[in-house]
């Protein structure tokens, strides 16, 4: 009888656990499963309304009821009936402590419902011209191509909260004005083309900057590269990448964490996973960066899985020269970051590397949290490949990558108009959803 009572007690406990789990496992609202991206919708609506500068005109003529009314009609007509809006125009003054001053607002509802999001859009008065012309990277020494690896058939790791595409888009916006050509590499087969020195749209492959938006993962093309690089869990592929970086004098940017830790190709590794259950990805491990550096330095390939990073999670700060470039280029990531995969200083001598740019303060003199490593053979004058490695914790702040590249190449900005008070207005469009749950 005692056993039966014990079992009944167990059942009561499990029932309690189930009730508790059910209580906390609250299912999301249906609209949260596939939400309308209100932020993007707001931004694209503002951009569409300003395609003929009508929005800019309305923002500066808020007393003109005809124009302002026309804007209201256009807003109502362009948004779906279940989307409500509030559009507000602010003056950008900068003369007092209050940067933005309210000018006017229109709305078609008293409140914006349970779900809302907003986008901002800066408009300029028609009687002023802002003009900043950036110097192009590679203008004097060849190159000038930026490749952003945005391979749809490769998965990312340690880019938690982002997708490769969203990071690629931000990078495009931040860096494309500074390059002759910015090429989004959309698939691993396109990546294979540039690895084989074939241009995608007539750009120069030599001396390019290649930014890998997949985080600790590197895209791998199926075919020859997968065949030749399959040894030692694809560490050999990282070696070949190092060779290509040297051969084409690329600057390879690793945006977060441990560089070359995984390789990914959704079709090639469809049935394999990275030991954390992410299919389409394989773990190379610590051998990846060693193999890459061997390839970069033209050494013979030998499998080396020894660790060369410090996994200590330690706060580090941007160095003063980098803070200067923050102001120069108008890119402001947090000056304090957390180092978690800093590279050991021994790689400098071991692989003929010098520090082209040091970005962060050191928490230990033996480790470098983030830097551009420049490869030069002993006695040579020419640089033969570089590596930007940001050994910071996830999630990545892509502005640091942009800042690293810009600080390293230091393209100049030619301003024709510095300050002009009262010539800019900020338009904020907030959208909300009504109906349903």
């Amino acid at each position: 009888m005692m056993r039966t009572i014990e079992v009944l007690i167990v059942i009561i406990i499990i029932t309690g656990a189930f009730i508790a789990a059910s209580f906390f496992a609250v299912l999301p609202w249906p609209r949260q499963v596939s939400p309308v991206n209100l932020r993007r919708l707001a931004f694209t609506t503002l951009q569409m309304l300003d395609s003929n500068y009508e929005l800019s005109r309305a923002a500066f003529e808020t007393d003109n009821y005809t124009i302002w009314g026309g804007l209201q009609v256009a807003l109502s007509a362009s948004l779906p009936p279940n989307v409500i809006y509030n559009l507000t125009v602010y003056e950008v003054t900068g003369e007092t402590t209050q940067l933005y001053t309210f000018i006017a607002s229109i709305s078609n509802a008293e409140s914006l419902g349970a779900t809302s999001d907003a986008s901002t859009y800066m408009v300029a008065s028609s009687n002023v011209t802002f003009n900043v012309i950036p110097e192009k990277i590679g203008e004097h020494d060849g190159g000038g191509t930026l490749y952003i690896l945005n391979c749809s058939d490769a998965k990312g790791w340690w880019i938690t909260g982002y997708t490769s595409h969203s990071l690629a888009q931000d990078l495009y916006n931040l860096l494309s004005p500074y390059f002759h050509e910015t090429v989004m590499v959309q698939s691993t087969s396109q990546f294979e083309q540039i690895l084989n020195n074939n241009t995608l749209q007539g750009e120069t492959v030599q001396n390019a900057v290649v930014i890998n938006t997949c985080g600790e993962t590197v895209p791998i093309p199926a075919g020859d590269y997968a065949t030749q690089g399959s040894a030692n869990n694809y560490a050999k592929y990282c070696y070949i990448l190092g060779q290509r970086v040297r051969q084409y004098n690329w600057t390879w940017a690793s945006i977060v964490g441990y560089p070359f830790y995984y390789v990914s190709n959704a079709a090639l590794f469809a049935g394999q996973q990275n030991t954390y259950g992410i299919y389409g990805m394989l773990c190379v491990g610590q051998a990846g960066i060693n193999a890459f550096l061997q390839g970069l330095d033209g050494q013979q390939y030998s499998y080396n899985s020894g660790g060369i990073t410090s996994s200590s999670q330690t706060p580090v700060n941007l160095l003063p020269n980098i803070l200067y470039y923050c102001n120069y280029y108008g890119i402001y990531p947090s000056p304090s970051q957390t180092s978690t995969r800093a590279l050991r200083t021994t790689i400098l001598n071991g692989y003929n590397l010098t520090l082209g740019l040091d970005m962060f303060s050191r928490f230990d003199s033996n480790y470098i949290p983030g830097a551009v490593y420049r490869h030069k053979f002993s006695g040579a004058t020419d640089v033969t490949g570089s590596l930007l490695a940001l050994g910071l914790t996830r999630s990545p702040d892509i502005r640091l990558t942009a800042l690293g590249i810009l600080s390293y190449y230091s393209p100049r900005l030619y301003h024709s108009e510095y300050t002009a008070n009262g010539t800019s207005r900020l338009v904020v469009l907030q959208l909300g959803l009504v109906g349903g749950v």
Partner: protein, 403 residues
């Protein structure tokens, strides 16, 4: 001893039953959460894919204006940034909804977008990018399927309220609201016949709509049997839409334009009987082609085009059954072909650049049979015309919804 054994047996039976029951219950909760996460991932992919298509011009960047096959998929206008689409790249997408047309004289299938009776956009399959190539170029083949739809935000409907004197009621409405007090620019093209060949008179004007987005256009010089075409641009507060309307009296013999080359601007003009396989001989169709160019202030300007002949013969000896015209520009506009045959006249419109007649686009797979479809949308402009771009994305990895 016996009672102890019974106790054990009862306890084990009850325990196993309870364990199985709770495994089932927990499994349901976990499955729901896993499916939610997978659906969220599909929704994120939808947003990314849409931006991927809309914010990249593709490779080569001007593939829409050439006859080459792209090696990278993207629809952005290469001359602009952000969400401005190329009117030509969109023309080169193979339509998922229009019934394809086979033209025997060229031996080709054509992607078909036909609006109204006589407004054609027929693109040969060798120039029209197909769905499977697009998924391969984006690296999502066998993992995700999608359907991309671009529809004009502003609908401009035109209704003939009086035949003579001609009065046309134009109404402009957006997705959720009429385009009150919109500025309406129009191009009126009246078809006539002189010496057996069609000619035309073009007039332009601008009027303002009322608070319901409507306006009446009165054309005094048009009789009840006259043939005409009206093209209207409505704009308000940065929002621009297009509408068109024709009156024709030739129901059998007319001209069908087939695009042959985007790079050279070459368009074949075919006899309708040749396309529909009716038996020859048939009366010839006499035509007169012109091109109206869309200017930056959304008025239309006439542009002369080269036309070697003005007659399409069908079934008489060895004569070709189609002729060709060359559009000398890559600025969006409208090819207007007026024609006459056996005293029956008509007019055919073809957009050069998708946006000039606000043709819609449906490209991709069929979402109707899919288990779960994520959607997202953006507001874009195509050649200055406001469009809404919607994407539907589904996973092809075959998981099931439970519960």
């Amino acid at each position: 001893m016996v009672s102890s054994t019974v106790d054990h047996m009862v306890a084990i039976t009850v325990f196993l039953a309870a364990t199985l029951l709770f495994i089932g219950l927990f499994n349901q909760t976990i499955q729901t959460a896993v499916i939610y996460q997978r659906h969220r991932a599909t929704a994120t992919k939808a947003s990314d894919l849409l931006d991927n298509m809309l914010l990249s011009p593709g490779i080569p960047v001007n593939w829409g204006q050439t006859d080459v096959s792209p090696t990278g998929f993207g629809l952005q206008d290469p001359e602009f940034t952000q969400y401005k689409m190329s009117p030509y790249s969109l023309m080169r997408l193979r339509s998922s909804v229009g019934e394809p047309v086979y033209y025997n004289a060229t031996g080709q299938w054509y992607s078909n977008v036909t609006m109204g009776d006589r407004n054609f956009m027929l693109v040969p399959y060798n120039l029209a990018l197909d769905y499977s190539t697009a998924t391969r170029l984006m690296g999502i083949n066998n993992t995700y399927g999608f359907q991309l739809t671009l529809t004009p935000i502003v609908t401009v409907s035109i209704q003939e309220t009086s035949a003579s004197p001609l009065t046309l009621k134009v109404t402009a409405t957006g997705v959720g609201f009429p385009l009150s007090y919109a500025t309406i620019s129009y191009c009126f093209l009246k078809v006539g016949v002189q010496g057996g060949s069609p000619n035309y008179e073009i007039s332009f004007n601008t009027i303002t709509a009322d608070d319901t987005g409507s306006a009446n256009i009165n054309i005094g010089s048009v009789a009840a049997g006259d043939v005409y075409a009206l093209i209207v641009y409505a704009r308000q507060g940065g929002l621009v839409g297009v509408g068109y309307h024709e009156r024709v009296d030739a129901s059998k013999r007319y001209v069908i334009p087939f695009i042959d080359s985007f790079e050279d601007g070459l368009v074949f003009l075919a006899h309708s009987y040749d396309v529909h396989y009716d038996k020859p001989p048939e009366s010839a169709v006499f035509y007169n082609a012109t091109f109206v160019l869309l200017t930056e202030d959304f008025t239309l300007r006439e542009m002369p085009i080269t036309q070697e002949k003005t007659q399409i013969v069908y079934g008489h000896g060895s004569d070709k059954t189609y002729e060709n015209v060359t559009i000398p520009t890559h600025n969006p506009g409208i090819l207007v072909v007026t024609y006459t045959s056996n005293n029956q006249d008509g007019v055919v419109l073809m957009p050069w650049g998708l946006s000039s007649l606000a043709f819609p686009v449906v490209f991709g797979g069929d979402p109707s049979q899919q288990e779960w479809v994520a959607t997202d949308m953006r507001q874009v402009t195509v050649g200055g015309i406001a469009y809404q771009a919607k994407i539907a994305v589904w996973s092809l990895e075959g998981y099931q919804v439970v519960g």
